[in-house]
Amino acid sequence: MPYLEVRELEKTYVTPRDATHVLGGVNLAIEEREFVAVVGYSGSGKTTLVSLIAGLIPSDAGEIVLDGAPVTEPGPERGIVFQQYSLLPWMTVYENVALAVDAVNPGLPGADRRRLTEEFIALVNLTPAAWKRPRQLSGGMRQRVAVARGFAMRPKLLLMDEPFSAVDALTRTTLQDELLRIWNEHRSTVILITNDVDEAILLADRIYPMTPGPGAVLGPAIEVGLPRPRRRRHMSLEPAYQKARQAIVEFLRAARTNR
């Protein structure tokens, strides 16, 4: 049985006026320490999928099993890096990360928790900004705090919901490289949601393309045959890269025209 298994997951948002069928039977399987990306057009239901796996919203059908336990409610073992950072603006960088460290290590002595917090801040190179509030940081720095907080939860599964979509292209490149480095050090199990095919190939072991909604489903997973540790330079010239890219783009294009 895979580490995380999502079976026939369905979700419909019902309002008094109408109902939107967002997910129509999503299947997904991830092994431990695997980095998986879900790629799809904006509005196809990717954030809904993340919210369901996180347990933030209930599903209508199907099941989610992580490490043998069915998911019924949110919990820090499924950490999230939210799309809009969701940092608490009244807390400093340190306090935002410490909130997560304290929440998942309640028994640990204060000194150890402080050390852990500092480590996670250092992991994303924000030590000089530790006592600043999110308002004083650039978009890229804020997202790094969110990444640090996500890893600080020491999750079994880290969910990243379009983490770099709100930052400019240059910053995005830096953040992707940083994430690549952090993941190489930590090797956590990650689901990355993105609409950026190149980002998915750079970071993930396998990529699930998502059909556009309504009733979105995931296509067959595409293996990224690139060796690790990966480097961005020259990567796009490798045959494995181009093969993966072509497979994803073709699937997404076909899924759109077949609607």
Partner: protein
């Protein structure tokens, strides 16, 4: 002279002169009993220039009187916050509580201080606690309502952070709900303070306690009309000052 200085100093001064002109004109034409600005100043001079003198219970310098009123307002205001803040949080946090008590809040909110005061006198038998009771009851509603609205408008994103981290109820309150609501709470406090000061005059007039409002009413009964104007001006000035001070506190909370 720059237009900025013109806007900031000259135009307000012109406005003030305009008011004084209209006031003088009124006192010399349609309202002969209304003291003119000059007469008001002559008869009030001692109260302003020796603001802390005390000749008797009701005959005191204007700042001393204002101080009595401020102490009374502070008591009522603090009582209003002590009751209103938790009440607002409960209304915002608990649906059953909201369903049970929101109609009562909406019902009590528009009741005038003039209506509460006699009831306060009946309950407490003394004028001082009755006045404080009235101020608190009238002033607490903006705090209650703003706090409740603030709790309800906390971004789901912040709450989700708490849910993912499985924060305890107490931590959720201390780390997320209260800080996220604070700007709303302080807007409520500022509005409540304004109301408390508004109520003080009515409370003092009806109870005859020493203070700006009590003084105003006594001088009306003794036909010293210039002191009414002195009191009115003092009430306005103190009210403005309170609002500005609370505005500073509010801005501080919002920017932190």
């Amino acid at each position: 002279m720059t237009t900025a200085r013109l806007q900031k100093f000259v135009l307000p001064l012109l406005g003030l002169i305009g008011v004084l002109v209209v006031w003088t004109a009124l006192s010399q034409t349609v309202a002969p009993d209304l003291p003119s600005p000059a007469k008001t100043w002559n008869e009030s001079r001692r109260y302003v220039l020796e603001p802390f003198f005390k000749d008797g219970e009701m005959n005191q310098g204007i700042l001393r009187l204002a101080f009595y009123s401020l102490v009374r307002v502070a008591k009522g205001f603090l009582l209003a916050l002590a009751i209103g803040t938790p009440l607002g949080f409960l209304l915002g946090l608990s649906r059953p509580f909201h369903a049970a008590f929101d109609p009562i809040v909406q019902f009590l909110r528009p009741i005038s201080p003039l209506a509460w005061l006699p009831l306060g006198l009946v309950i407490f038998q003394k004028s001082e606690p009755a006045a404080v009771f009235t101020i608190a009851l009238c002033a607490m509603w903006p705090t209650v309502i703003n706090t409740a609205v603030g709790v309800r408008s906390i971004s789901q994103d912040y709450l989700n952070v708490g849910r993912v981290l499985k924060l305890s109820r107490a931590k959720m309150l201390a780390k997320i709900i209260v800080p996220a609501t604070l700007p709303y709470v302080f807007t409520g406090y500022r509005l409540s303070l304004g109301l408390a000061w508004l109520v003080i005059v009515a409370a003092e007039m009806l109870t005859g306690t020493p203070g700006v409002g009590g003084f105003l009413w006594q001088e009306y009964n003794s036909l010293v009309y210039s002191h009414i104007i002195l009191s009115v001006a003092t009430i306005g000035a103190v009210g403005l000052l309170l609002d500005r001070l609370m505005g500073l506190v509010e801005a501080r909370v919002k920017s932190s």
